[in-house]
């Protein structure tokens, strides 16, 4: 059995698609973690059965409460455990007897405070019964397709195609909240905490087959098994991009330095190289990571290296050109016939060279025509669309027009956009986003996102060739 089959058969899928959930340690008091998780599960609209477990309550949030998981009359797939650490082994033992398939152990007070023994004990119990679990020391799990928000994070998480895995609890919750604000949809959120059982590699092997996920984004502090991560990440990256924010870049490993090589290798070097080798795209910060993830969820793969910039302003065009050079994107040298086509979309003082400058006079018609040229010609492979706010254009309307053109050509090539201006530009970009065109408030961010797509595609090609040779 392959590791993937093992994971699926070994109950990891029950973290995301349980038919029933027990909340062990459900609480009547708002503000308590055991209450908020139950409330989130109910309010987000989970359609399976929910069983609060609390020996001291008869009913919580309108649901019948059970004294123990063993008292629940029906099968339980997933247990969310939020009770003091010392009671977790007994509760997990009961879950095992009940036939629970997977667990999210929210409770803190294990390895993170030096309580290794207690952590080993729960691993032992879980192994005995074949329970796969995330945690301990986590905020829970969210799964968009099954409408399960078993976290004590924000309630109204937007469904989408990004699977977000986080080792940090507080930052993870904060980012969940931020994605709602930024209008970014998620397919799943997994809090990993101490990673006593399920780790990044297990989840990559799961998400690579998850049809609801298009890209995996990981916030990581450290790995338990680098080699295994590399294997899983390579397999996943061949199908879906994996973006990692690895914190602790400045940290240097305490290494006995007896060789030159040793003195040149800080611990972060290995993460950096390992990521590169297994196709993982390393983002320097959260903003960059989600910028890239948004691009990956929407854009088709480019069929070649030729990038064209379409702009209504010289300055923003130059900035984008610089960014292309920094990120290694190939600005296409336009042949005469294409320049002639672009010339028809601009006043005589425009520039048909790449960046194609439609000038500040450009309005809906000019953008439409230029975009049609770029979309219809096979020699052009990707488009960076720039717009500086002017009085002759209403940004939301421009977005509608652009979305229509792109739709007409069936999303045949990657397009990223950048609008610079006031509130109307924000509205305009939101419309583009809704139409599957990733948009960014600066040209550098737009270029960086497109460059990430290229980096992934290039790695994939190289890796496939390597595998063929073998």
């Amino acid at each position: 059995m392959s590791q993937e089959e093992y994971n699926i058969k070994s109950n990891i899928n029950y973290l995301f698609f349980p038919k029933s959930v027990a909340v062990i340690g459900a609480s009547r008091s708002p503000g308590k973690i055991g209450h908020e998780i139950l409330r989130n599960i109910i309010e987000y609209g989970y359609e399976g059965k929910v069983y609060p477990v609390n020996p001291k309550a008869d009913e919580i949030l309108g649901l019948k409460c059970y004294k123990s998981v063993l008292e629940i009359p029906d099968p339980v797939d997933l247990a969310v455990i939020s009770i003091p650490a010392k009671y977790v082994p007994a509760a997990l033992e009961e879950c095992g007897k009940k036939g629970v398939k997977a667990a999210a152990i929210i409770s803190s007070g294990f390895k993170e405070i030096g309580n290794v023994e207690l952590e080993n004990k729960i691993v032992e119990i879980a192994r005995k019964y074949g329970i796969r679990f995330i945690g301990p020391n986590i905020f829970g799990v969210f799964s968009a397709p099954s409408k399960l928000n078993a976290t004590f994070g924000p309630t109204k998480v937007l469904p989408g195609k990004i699977a977000f895995i986080t080792q940090s609890g507080a930052l993870g919750i904060a980012l969940m909240g931020w994605t709602i604000f930024a209008g970014i949809g998620l397919s799943a959120v997994v809090s990993l905490g101490n990673k006593a059982d399920v780790d990044e590699a297990d989840l990559l092997e799961y998400f690579v087959y998850d049809e609801h996920t298009k890209v995996v984004l990981i916030y990581m502090e450290g790995l338990n098994n680098g080699r295994r991560f590399m294997e899983a990440a390579t397999k996943c990256s061949l199908k879906k991009p994996v973006i990692v924010i690895k914190a602790g870049r400045s940290e240097r490993g305490a290494r006995a330095v007896a060789s030159h090589t040793g003195s040149l290798a800080g611990s972060d070097v290995f993460y950096d190289v390992a990521f590169k080798q297994c196709g993982v795209l390393r983002a320097l910060n959260v903003e960059e990571a989600f910028d890239w993830a948004r691009a990956f969820t929407e854009l088709p793969e480019p069929k070649g290296d030729n990038v064209v910039i379409i702009t209504n302003g010289g300055g923003i065009g130059v900035m984008a050109t610089d960014a292309c050079s920094d990120y290694g994107l190939n600005l296409m040298e336009l042949p005469e016939d294409l320049m002639n086509e672009f010339r028809k979309c601009m006043p005589p003082f425009g520039s048909p060279k790449n960046p194609v400058d439609l000038t500040g006079q450009a309005a809906y018609d000019e953008y439409t025509k230029a975009l049609e040229v770029a979309l219809s010609d096979d020699r052009i492979h990707s488009i960076i669309l720039l717009f500086c706010q002017t009085a002759v254009v209403d940004p939301p309307k421009l977005s509608e027009v652009i979305a229509d053109v792109v739709k007409k050509y069936g999303r045949c090539k990657p397009i990223v956009a950048c609008y610079i201006g006031g509130e109307e530009c924000q509205k305009g970009m939101k419309i583009l986003e809704q139409n599957g065109i990733p948009s960014y408030p600066t040209p550098e961010r737009a270029v960086s996102a497109l460059a990430a797509v290229y980096r992934w595609v290039k790695w994939k090609k190289k890796m496939l060739k390597k595998l063929e040779v073998k």
């Binding site: 680098g226 060789s259 030159h260 090589t261 040149l264 290995f270 950096d272 390992a274 080798q277």
Partner: protein
């Protein structure tokens, strides 16, 4: 001798590193070209080996107590004839005795004097997370000051090795600039691949430096090698 026997011998003698001649032998066992050398235990033997190899030669101290040979004045280069050899022999011995009085001395390594070429470094290291990795860089200030090196987790293929070489900023120097002859990148890549194999097959190796490695228009040669074993 097999790599295993080499390493076990050192460990048995209580050393956590290989003598230079052992490290070079290890390289040759993996097919990495090394500068010709042999350890002499007396002046007579030194002259005999030098004649076999051919003057000029390089002389280096071999001692379980001296890992950094130049630091104790234990290296003499461009030794042109027997007279110079005898003089250098005494100088090395007295230098080491002065600077490291209790050092046990195994002998003096007599090595061919290899014509100057582009210097590079090939390194090996073991990370607790990712296991063995290889390093490549241009020698001298490029490594020391600019830290201009590239790494790969092993195993590496020839393509990976070539990519490692092309990744460093000093790549242009290797390719040949302003009329200098280009270095043999294929031979270099081959040595990196073999180093990767050496690290994979010998768990006891913790770190290693092949430094410098001379790269010629055709072929390469390891001039000095240091292999550190796990404690």
């Amino acid at each position: 001798m097999t790599p295993r026997e080499l390493i076990e011998k050192a460990l048995k003698e209580g050393r956590t590193w290989l003598y230079e001649d052992e490290a070079k032998l290890l390289c040759s066992l993996y097919g990495i070209p090394v500068a010709k050398s042999k350890v002499a235990k007396s002046k007579e033997e030194a002259i005999k080996i030098a004649k076999e190899i051919g003057f000029p030669i390089v002389m280096k101290i071999v001692s379980p107590d001296v890992l950094h040979k130049s630091d104790v004045g234990g290296v003499k280069v461009n030794v042109k004839n027997e007279d110079e050899l005898l003089k250098a022999y005494d100088e090395i011995m007295s230098n080491v005795k002065t600077r490291k009085p209790n050092a046990r001395i195994v002998g003096i390594l007599i090595q061919e004097m290899v014509p100057q070429a582009t210097e590079v470094i090939i390194g090996g290291i073991r990370d607790p997370q990712f296991g063995p990795a290889v390093m490549f860089g241009l020698g001298g200030i490029f490594v020391e000051i600019f830290r201009d090196v590239s790494f790969r987790i092993v195993p590496v293929s020839v393509e990976d090795a070539l990519e490692m070489i092309s990744e460093i900023k000093g790549y242009e120097i290797l390719k040949g600039y302003r009329g200098t002859t280009p270095a043999d990148l294929d031979a270099l890549a081959d040595a990196i691949v073999k180093t990767s194999k050496m690290l994979l097959e010998n768990e006891e190796i913790d770190q290693l430096d092949l430094n410098p490695v001379f790269v010629f228009e055709k072929g390469i040669k390891v001039i000095d090698a240091r292999v550190i074993l796990k404690k």
